[in-house]
Amino acid sequence: MRALSKGIFAALFALCAALPASATDWPTGPVTMLIGYKAGGGTDTKGRVLAKILTRELGQQVNVINRAGGGQAVALEGFKNEEPNGDMFFFGAVSGITLNPQINSALQFRADDYVYAGGLTEFQVTMVAPADAPFDDMAGFVAYAKEKGKIKYASLSPGAKIVMQAIARQSGLEVDYIPTKGGRGMVQLVLSGQVDFAYSGGIHARYPGKFKTIAAVSTKRLGNYPDTETLIEAGYEGVAIDAPTVVAFPKGIDPAIVAKMEAALKVASTDPDMMKISKSINMPIVYQTAAEASQLVEESAAAITIMLDTIGYKAS
């Protein structure tokens, strides 16, 4: 009897061990990392370092493929329809997943079309001003803007404009939106003294002594700016865009594959190459488990919905 129960127990144990084992065969062939930006950009650079580490950790070649356009929308729209077999995964900022479908009704994908295997780093999304600006926080900025009558704001993306519109609506500010393309266009406008205020994906940290960080746009305080208040803390409810970089699979993926990727990301988060690159692009490593990443995506999408309601945004 005892032997029997022992045998059953052993068999059950073997079965339990065998179940995930069948899936951990993944990957059996080359895996493709999908990046929503052009080769040579910030996300691409980090992605390629990650691909190198994953190649080592997963034991199969990880190739990078770039499908740029529409702030990652082009890549994500196609990725939704990929087979959920682990042959392809997406690497990029969460903001592309949460913000895009809410401001563009033509897009089919939604944040819950994907399964998140974890987060790795975090864009330091902030509101910034020139270093010589006569204010240091949001309250100071609002007072300054009211005194000046109308301020000039560098708007580098639809998201950047929405954030400022929400602030302006709530504080009753008048703003001239100066459109610009990408972070470097914004830096140029600020350095040459053309604008009073701007939105930065974190790029301003590369120009020490030229910028002041006024507020964090994320839902929680940022790794590089622990002393800087978030917009939510400053009283702007729901005004937040989170942009941690995550790894995502299409819905329907085998949980064992997600678990294996999650473990590989954990290793990548302490890899010296990854630490070196994170330092040089001023993007701290913020490792998140699959569960943490999924929760963040959900919260972040909800915050954006509130923000869009505040300004009465109509998706185009």
Binding site: A39, G40, V74, P158
Partner: protein
């Protein structure tokens, strides 16, 4: 000074030199292949640099950038298939020379002009990067609007025989550039529901289709005649047609000097780009020579010199804002940021303080790359010049394949190839029916920058009197207006002459 020796040692270390040489060779080869150009070459090579030391990696990429910029003259002159918009003027003035049996002369002049432009611009970068960068920052959106307006009007003068058709092509180019998300509101414009075009139609596939694929369609249709002329393309057999003579130098010296200045100036200003540099330089030489459309009919060695010197001068000059303030002046400079970043280096004001040795090493490597370019180009040309001896039935399918590869890499996959085909067809019609593809491309390339800087200007300048604070912008604006007036006068004269000729 004492720290200078180790820098020299590391820059001239055999490993580093080998990487520069490899970069220049690879770049020249890729640039010389039709349908592939400097953007593709540099972007594709980035992953290679993972395995190198920072200096070797950056020197390698700089070598690729320089090599491919000069190499693109080869396919432009020999096959009339420029790999990038910026080598279009080289093809316009150089291909007729090749057809007249002077391919080797044109190739050599192209190379010499490239190296001179490159060296000149590199030296400017080394000596005055800091000072120039401060100045470039003063060129804001308002000034840029003026400069871009002036450039568009000036380049419209290259529109070929019919001004009406040239203007139609230019407007069509701007119209096509409107496709995508509009930059101020972010609302889709002329996208027909296709999200692939949200960032606009990809430049390289449009350019390859318009320039190279359409040319292949035409050449495949005329293959019998080309086969018959193949003997002439190999060279006339006269020594003067193979070398650059003293007379050629005399004719081209002014063009090269002007090209160096224009290319360097355009490179330093972020937001203009190599195409503006080579077209402006070419247009200025065409105007100065007083030969007009004859330039493209019989070919012009000074036209090749003007275009190539400016095209190459843009590359090092576009590193001025990159090194000094961290803002790239060109696509290549933007790609280099990625390479710096991978190596843990931040381009920008701190570069000279924190990584002074590295920058010095990069400077030395850049000069070495210029010299390698001369060597590789000079001997490489002999190999490439043999292409014309190969049967068109073998060359053209390979060119078509390479065009597809280039469009694939820079245009988001199969979609990019589709875009290339569409613009191949449009280019075929444009070339056959004399709708200037030059004005089309300029409209397409400059259109978005112009619209953006105009929108910025309208946001920044709230009162007309504020314009007085922007004398540079006013000067270029006035030049643009003057240019429009001149063009109208010229057009009327042309028309009167035509009426006289046709009783």
């Amino acid at each position: 000074m004492e720290s200078f020796l180790p820098v020299l040692e590391s820059a001239f270390a055999p490993g580093n030199l080998a990487w520069i040489l490899f970069g220049v060779t690879l770049g020249y080869l890729v640039g010389a292949l039709p349908g592939l150009g400097k953007g593709t070459a540099t972007a594709v090579a980035i992953p290679l640099t993972f395995y190198l030391s920072p200096l070797a990696a950056i020197a390698f990429l700089v070598g690729i950038a320089k090599g491919s910029t000069a190499g693109s003259a080869v396919s432009a002159i020999l096959l009339n298939t420029p790999g990038e918009p910026s080598s279009t003027p080289t093809a316009m003035a150089g291909y007729p020379l090749a057809r007249a049996g002077k391919a080797q002369k044109a190739l050599k002049m192209g190379l010499f002009a490239s190296v001179i432009g490159d060296l000149f611009s590199t030296i400017v970068l080394i000596l005055v990067a800091q000072e120039l960068a401060e100045y470039a920052l003063g060129i804001g959106p308002v000034e840029l609007t003026g400069i871009l307006a002036f450039s568009m009007v000036f380049i419209a003068g290259l529109s070929g025989r019919s001004m009406i058709k040239g203007l139609i092509a230019g407007l069509f180019g701007i119209l096509v550039s409107c496709i995508g998300l509009e930059v101020e509101t972010g609302s889709p414009r002329l996208t027909f529901g296709m999200i692939e075009v949200y960032d606009g139609l990809p430049l390289i596939p449009v350019a390859i289709g318009m320039l190279a694929l359409s040319e292949m369609m035409i050449q495949i249709g005329q293959r019998q005649r080309l086969q018959d002329e193949a003997d002439l393309l190999q060279g006339s057999g006269i020594r003067e047609d193979r070398i650059v003579t003293l007379g050629d130098w005399r004719r081209s010296a002014r063009a090269i000097l002007r090209g160096c200045l224009i290319g360097t100036g355009v490179g330093i200003l972020p937001g203009l780009g190599a195409s503006v540099g080579s077209f402006l330089s070419y247009g200025a030489e065409r105007k100065a020579s007083g030969r007009g459309a004859d330039f493209e009919e019989t070919g012009a060695i000074e036209g090749v010199a003007a275009a190539e010197s400016a095209d190459n001068a843009v590359v090092p000059a576009s590193f001025v804002p990159l090194f000094a303030i961290g803002i790239p002046g060109s696509v290549i400079a933007a790609i280099l940021i990625g390479a710096f970043t991978i190596q843990g280096i931040t381009p920008g004001p701190l570069l000279f303080l924190e990584n002074r040795d590295l920058i010095l090493g990069v400077y030395i490597s850049m000069i070495a790359a210029s010299l390698f370019l001369l060597l590789i180009g000079y001997f490489g040309q002999n190999v490439f010049a043999r292409i014309v001896r190969v049967s068109p039935a073998l060359v053209m399918p390979i060119v078509v394949f390479l065009c597809c590869l280039g469009a694939y890499l820079q245009g988001g996959g199969a979609f990019g190839i589709g875009v290339m085909v569409v613009f191949g067809i449009i280019g075929f019609f444009a070339k056959k029916y004399d709708f200037s593809f030059v004005t089309f491309l300029i409209g397409f390339v400059i259109g978005p920058s112009f619209e953006l800087s105009l929108r910025q200007t309208l946001g920044l300048v709230t009162d007309v009197s504020e314009l007085l604070d922007h004398p540079v912008a006013l000067a270029f604006g006035a030049l643009a207006v003057f240019g429009v007036w001149r063009l109208t006068v010229l057009q009327r004269r042309q028309h009167e002459a035509m009426v006289r000729d046709q009783p």
